[in-house]
Amino acid sequence: MNLSLTEEQVLMRDTLRSFLADRYAFDTHRAILESESGWSANCWRALANELGVLGASLPETLGGSGGNAIDNLVILESMGRSLMVEPYLSTVVIGGGLLSRLGGALAEALVPKIVSGEVVIAFAWAEPQGRYELSDLRTTAVRSDGGYLLCGHKAVVVGAPWATHFVVTARTSGGERDAEGVSAFLVERDTAGTSLQSYPTVDGGRAAELRFDQVRVPAHHLLGEEGQALPMLERVMDEAIVAVCAEGLGVMRRMLDETVEYAQQRLQFGKAIASFQVLQHRMVDMHIAIEQATSLVTVATLKLDEPPRERAQAASAAKVQTGRALRLVGQSAVQIHGGMGVTEELAVGHFFKRASVIQHQFGSVDHHLRRYAERL
């Protein structure tokens, strides 16, 4: 039993935090979001080349540093503190993780380019009718000429405008919500018949509606077995859940720091509002919520290699605990900031918006309570 970070992990965390403090401070962050592309390709390259962050959790055989999911947790928590929008989660955790586990020629071709920052991946799993269910699919892939023809509409694909490749879920057989018949494909961005409708998201990111009209996908771009991808995708989803929770921890810690600092500076009735007991208790409750969430996110990260039932329960438990914490911490941070909290002038409002989105990303509290309960 050991719940401490390794020396390498501590070093990476500190290096990344000072990099973000230096190159991704709040004003810079806002300028990046408001730019035409909405992200910083420079920062992305720096994460790859200067810091080696993009390869930290990926296998050495594929150009990475041979780390693990704890590295992802450390990295995403730091990114959350700086409200970084760059698509680490979908590119490294989802794309890099999935390809590395599958191995083979596709992994050998792409994972080194993930590590070097050349390949950027978006995860196209959601559909307009599907809410948070992985298997609720109307997108279809049918065999044709030794490959597949992909047709359908993927909704709110986060990071898609920056992606070079998409991981796309589609149905190769069965009915709309069947567990059987789910497949996954890697689709290159510029494949004929693929169209993107890009837009900003309320939390400062970018996303797209992705439409596939008879898109030809080669057979070797099938990820996993045809029709049997759901168990594999459930694992991918659990990794995504844990990762987004880790980011949420960073978002919450920053909100609490900002709130305590503001409460110490803001004077009303001749004293700092931090001296009012009602606010002191509320800030302590924020701290407790963050700590409780941190504990379950850590446990869920360590259980990603457990059998599916234990893994899914741990991930859903982390999402429930973190989702509730995000709500309490976010709403309290805004409330304690008073009028300033509802403006875009201070950082706290931007963190609150990101927190509100993470609450529901990859499934709401209700969704994950049900998912946990189904596995009791």
């Binding site: 959601a126 307009p128 009718q129 599907g130 809410r131 948070y132 269910e133 609720d136 909704a155 709110v156 986060v158 709309e176 919500r177 409708q197 837009y199 900003p200 998201t201 309320v202 939390d203 996303a207 509606e209 004077l267 009303q268 009735f269 001749g270 009012f276 009602v278 606010l279 709403q331 805004v334 409330q335 008073g338 009028g339 909290g341 509802v342 403006t343 875009e344 002038e345 409002g349 609150f352 918006k353 509100s356 989105v357 529901h360 990303q361 709401s364 209700d366 309570l369 049900r370």
Partner: protein, 406 residues
């Protein structure tokens, strides 16, 4: 006790409903459905308020002599229920529901004759200059200076959180005219022409990312602004009394009708959204959460009826007013939160200009259903309601003082 309405009251309700059906027209309904903050744009607000004025209904609480409709309390609550139930915009409060009462009580005959008719006709819009960057919950600490210079006051300082200042022709404003030992004593109540030289209105961008010109709040700067002494209301140093009088009106309206409309919209969304192949509204977890909100809302509604029906004309609701504000605002936030959750994944998509299609501006095709776009902005925007008009923390302080003498 009797919950039932009389036949005359029911006839009145029918009359109001028929009028709203005709006058709250399709373009206005479409605009309101896509509003992020509960208002139309300036032209829309003016048009709606002028229609109400022409019918004689824009100022239900005003005495008949100033143009009020002479309604009973029950008629007024029926009227508000019908307006809110149809999703009508609220009349902008600062003129009709705020400064007007101060003028009626403390204004001179000249001031009443000059200002009340254009308020009633919505020819002049007003804004409220109370809070300052350093004075929010502790309003009495306000610093904006007004010094006598001949027949004018000369103003320097700034006001903040000024709702719809960019539309306003006039501001009613609390200023410091002297430094007394008690901070409340040196405050005066002034009427300021917003076109006066030296006034700058700077938008404050709220979390719902309003379009330029549609911002809800502003900071207003005063640089040697001259205001004639004739625009002082009441006596110099009597501003705090005026402000306290006005506060009773700010906290005196029923919230439940608006909340019912907002909750009904959540139900409509949940009937259209799908979860596992069935409407979200069929899902047991969702229904349970909806039911919880509906029960809390019933309690808020009945509490408002109990409090208001026990009040005589002109009587203040005391701690009950603070309770109703707390209960209603916390509930309103939970309703906007459930709406944000109900729209599902498309809640993340940002449509900044939700009125683009309705006002024939170029617009990209929208991601997701049309009802999804205002959900997140409204959730973010409504965090304001437990902060403005006295934060929830201040409300609870006041209540413990009034109720228990603590």
């Amino acid at each position: 006790m009797d919950l039932a309405y009389s036949p005359e009251e029911n006839r009145f309700r029918d009359e109001v409903r028929a009028w709203i059906t005709q006058n709250f027209d399709a373009p206005m309904r479409a605009m309101m459905a896509q509003s992020k903050n509960g208002y139309l744009d300036k032209e829309g607000q003016r048009l709606w308020q002028q229609r109400l004025y022409e019918r004689g209904w824009v100022a239900p609480e005003w005495p008949v002599e100033y143009g009020g409709p002479d309604w009973t309390h029950t008629q007024r609550s029926i009227f508000y229920e019908e307006c809110a139930g149809a999703g009508c915009p609220q009349v902008i409060a600062m003129g009709v529901k705020m400064v007007a009462y101060v003028l009626m009580k403390y204004g001179t005959a000249e001031q009443r004759a000059r200002f009340l008719p254009p308020i009633l006709r919505s020819e002049e819009f007003w804004c409220q200059g109370y809070s300052e960057p350093g004075s929010g919950s502790d309003l009495a600490s306000l610093q904006m200076k007004a010094e006598r210079g001949g027949d004018d006051y000369v103003l320097n300082g700034s006001k903040t959180w000024t709702t719809l200042a960019q539309w306003a022709d006039w501001m009613f404003c609390l200023v410091r005219t002297s430094k007394e030992s008690k901070p409340q004593a040196g405050i005066s109540f002034l009427l300021i022409d917003m076109r006066s030289p030296g006034i700058t209105v700077a938008p404050i961008v709220t979390l719902d990312s309003p379009m330029p010109g549609q911002q809800e709040i502003n900071q207003v700067f005063f640089d040697n602004v001259r205001v004639p002494v004739s625009q002082l209301v009441g006596e110099e140093g009597q501003g705090w009394t005026c402000a306290k009088y006005l506060l009773e009106f700010e906290r005196g309206n029923a919230w439940a009708p608006t909340l019912k409309h907002q909750l009904r919209k959540v139900r409509e969304i949940a009937l259209k959204e799908y979860a596992a192949g069935a409407p979200l509204f069929e899902q047991a977890d969702f229904r349970r959460r909806y039911a919880e909100l509906e029960i809390r809302l019933s309690a808020a509604d009945a509490s408002e009826l109990r409090v208001f029906s026990g009040l005589k004309a002109g009587q203040s609701a005391g701690a009950d007013a603070n309770m109703l504000k707390l209960v209603a605002t916390e509930l309103q936030q939970d309703i906007t939160e459930l709406a944000f959750e109900a729209v599902g994944i498309y809640g993340q998509a940002k449509v900044r200009d939700t009125w683009a299609e309705l006002q024939n501006r170029p617009a990209d095709p929208r991601p997701g259903p049309v009802y999804a776009a205002p959900a997140a902005p409204a959730y973010f925007n409504y965090r304001k309601v437990t902060i403005y008009g006295g934060t929830s923390e201040i409300q609870r302080n006041i209540m413990s003082k009034i109720l228990f003498g603590l």
